[in-house]
């Protein structure tokens, strides 16, 4: 009897040791879960960052989950609203336009990083976007600095060189587009009538937005918005654009040579360079400026995103340490993601690195990154507020009126009334 008992207790002891050993391993091995939306871009950069951190901290591994961007946002919003934190990641990527919406409508859901991250090291406009009161919640990531990407081979057939596209206005671009169409038969730009990105780009280039700095609506009586819509009408009337529906058709149009140019964020570089057979056929130029508008510049922003740590994250401390160590300090890391993924981060110190001054044969030997980071410094800062999606939807609803050459004042009045109605 006693033998059996001692046998049992031995077995039990062995089993317990086994369990406790398992739990020790479990406690020391951490897995940080990250949600992002582009396996070739932000997903790839996060993977690289994770590998660097794992090399220093072998006990920490990363689980990088890719969604479509809209799916990620909706999943996040639905989970935050339900109040269930199970299944949320440790780190999530959020687009700048939506940052304030999440921070203000789900207070306490995201972790302020002021104690761990030195924000003076980052581009100030990116820091401001994720600040509520005196707390900042993001690790600033990619910039959406914009430029004009064009097929230099097509434009040169019409007699245009890189210098002809430096610091021009939209009307000059329209002239060039008509000239190109006449001489080569090529269409200059793809336009998606369901996307108001072009308007956001134009507005921010002159330091304006749908909302004032205090968050009040700035649509009716906004000269920059009016000039942007008028410019867009001229652009369409000139017959130099091709209508496309959705992202795939949009990117397909200029990567297949159907259109000769597009104005968009720097993150498009990766998509364009994915077509290796077009190496040397591309060029980049600064964004055209709005004609006759006070404060008009040749620099603007489209999109851009940052990393946020969830307050409910099981591995919160490790996640914060990881972001601060790699994303907050490692300038060498930024050189690598710049070269590999075309990711232009917001860590200021990274700009002194070698990769930034390198020339790129794909773009005819231009110093692509140097150019983009110069333009980055010139982007007028605006407050996106918390209702950019609503304002965008109101603009999109008016695009048929804009396209058919409707009265701009009436269009703006309609946008204004829809926005005021939607944001109450």
């Amino acid at each position: 009897m006693t033998r059996i008992a001692s046998h049992l207790s031995k077995t039990l002891a062995v089993a317990l040791t086994g369990v406790s050993m398992l739990s020790v391993t479990a406690a020391s091995a951490l897995e940080i879960t990250v949600w992002c939306w582009d396996p070739n871009f932000n997903g790839a950069t996060m993977k690289e960052a994770g590998e660097r951190y794992t090399a220093m901290h072998p006990d920490v591994t990363f689980n990088i989950v890719d969604f479509a961007k809209a799916d990620l946002e909706q999943k996040l919003q639905a989970q935050l609203a339900s109040g269930t934190t199970d299944g949320l990641p440790d780190i999530v990527l959020i687009e700048d336009y939506g940052a304030q919406k999440y921070l203000q409508s789900f207070p306490g859901a995201f972790e302020a990083l002021n104690d761990s991250v030195d924000y003076s090291a980052f581009a100030p406009y990116k820091v401001e976007l994720a600040t509520v009161g005196d707390q900042t919640y993001s690790l600033p990531f990619d910039s959406g600095v914009t430029g004009l990407f064009y097929r230099s081979d097509i434009l040169s057939k019409a007699g245009y060189e890189a210098a002809d596209l430096e610091d021009i206005t939209w009307d000059k671009l329209i002239e060039i587009g008509q000239d190109v169409k006449e001489k080569t038969g090529d269409t200059l730009l793809p336009i998606d009538p369901n996307d108001a990105g072009w308007l956001r780009i134009m507005m921010q280039s002159a330091g304006s937005w749908y909302f004032n700095a205090d968050g009040s609506v700035n649509i009716e009586g906004n000269p920059v918005l009016k000039a942007s819509i008028e410019t867009y009408q001229r652009l369409l009337a000139a017959g130099i654009s091709k209508p496309v529906a959705g992202w795939t058709e949009y990117t397909g149009s200029f990567t297949s040579g159907d259109t000769a140019a597009t104005f968009t964020g720097v993150w498009m570089t990766g998509t364009i360079k994915a077509n290796a057979d077009q190496s040397g056929m591309w060029g980049i130029a600064p964004l055209p400026a709005l004609d006759g508008v006070e404060g008009a510049t040749n620099a603007s922003n489209l999109g851009g995103s940052s990393w946020y740590v969830m307050s409910s994250a099981p591995e919160k401390d490790a996640a914060i340490d990881f972001l601060a160590e790699v994303w907050g300090k490692d300038a060498d890391f930024y050189q690598k993601i710049l070269v590999n993924q075309g990711a232009l981060g917001s860590l200021l110190a990274a700009r002194d690195g070698e990769a930034y001054s390198a020339s790129d044969p794909f773009f005819g030997g231009a110093e692509v990154w140097q150019n983009f980071s110069n333009w980055l410094g010139a982007i007028p800062s605006v407050n996106y507020g918390i209702f950019t999606n609503e304002a965008d939807a109101a603009v999109v609803a008016q695009i048929p009126a804009i396209t058919s050459g409707g009265n701009v004042d009436e269009i703006i009045a309609a946008i204004d009334s829809q926005v005021r109605q939607q944001i109450q």
């Binding site: 919003q77 009538p193 369901n194 496309v244 959705g246 209702f387």
Partner: protein, 276 residues
């Protein structure tokens, strides 16, 4: 008893809670009681009006077209002399068991600017320039109507087919002996005999169309410029895309509930057997 508890937890409670929600105002999780504020907002909301108009257009165009088609298919396939009718039946029924996402994605690519539909129409010289199916408000609605008609016609056809097979053969034989032509047999015998099934399919199609979401979300995202925005998609946008406005979204949901109630009631009244 357990069934009652389950019903209470998963049906009654959410319904009451959503009714309570529909009187809440505020952003995200910061909600407070707003009285009639959401209903007042509803009356001034131009986006809601667009969504309601679009939903009604889909309802008024698509449901009659689909049900007439389903009836014609059912009548043709009910003919025992037709060769291979089980193959046709399966073929027409098959769309409604395919995945919503898969068929929406395929429709999207078929109707792209350089998609197969435009290529085919151009090859047979029906059109000279590609039709901007998804970029033009009118054509985008046409695509959505085509898509849901393609998917649900077979589903309704099965109901009609089943009902037709329950009609006593001898009625048709008697009519034939009396010299009633085929079209008259269809209109004066088949259709009246199918009345309860027609009512049933009309009601479920109406409810389905009022809740239309997947196709518009996947094919057009409600665009271009809200021309295919439906009530369900608007509720989704209010909840998951815009600054979350849960209370107002619940109010819009109740509009669908009320519409379903009213329309079903009208259909029941219209189909009521006067002799009973």
């Amino acid at each position: 008893m357990p069934a009652l508890v389950l019903l209470g937890v998963f049906m009654v409670y959410p319904i009451l809670w959503s009714l309570w929600m529909s009187f809440q105002v505020g952003r995200g999780m910061n909600l407070s009681f707003g009285g009639l504020a959401n209903i007042i907002r509803l009356t001034q909301d131009t986006v809601f009006q667009r969504a309601l108009t679009n939903t009604m257009i889909f309802l008024a165009v698509q449901v009659p077209v689909m049900l007439v088609l389903a009836m014609l298919f059912a009548n043709a396939l009910n003919d025992s002399r037709l060769w291979g009718r089980s193959i046709f039946r399966t073929a027409i029924f098959l769309p409604c068991v395919t995945s919503l996402v898969a068929y929406s994605v395929i429709f999207r690519s078929m109707f792209a600017q350089d998609g197969i539909i435009n290529q085919m129409l151009m090859a047979i010289h029906v059109i000279a320039d590609p039709i901007p199916w998804l970029a033009d408000p009118f054509w985008a609605r046409v695509v959505v109507i085509l898509a849901i008609t393609w998917r649900w016609t077979g589903y309704n056809m099965i109901f009609y087919l089943a009902a037709m097979q329950n009609i006593d053969r001898s009625i048709y034989e008697a009519a034939r002996i009396d010299g009633v032509p085929a079209w008259a047999r269809f209109f004066y015998i088949t259709v009246p005999m199918l009345k309860p099934v027609i009512l049933f399919t009309t009601v479920i199609s109406t409810i389905g169309t009022l809740q239309l979401f997947d196709e518009v979300n996947l094919i057009t995202q409600g665009g271009p410029s809200d021309s295919t925005l439906t009530l369900s998609l608007y509720i989704y946008n209010l909840t998951f895309k815009f600054m979350p406005s849960f209370g107002y979204a619940a109010t819009v949901s109740y509009v669908i509930v009320i519409l379903v109630g009213i329309l079903s009631f009208i259909q029941f009244l219209a189909a009521r057997d006067k002799r009973a």
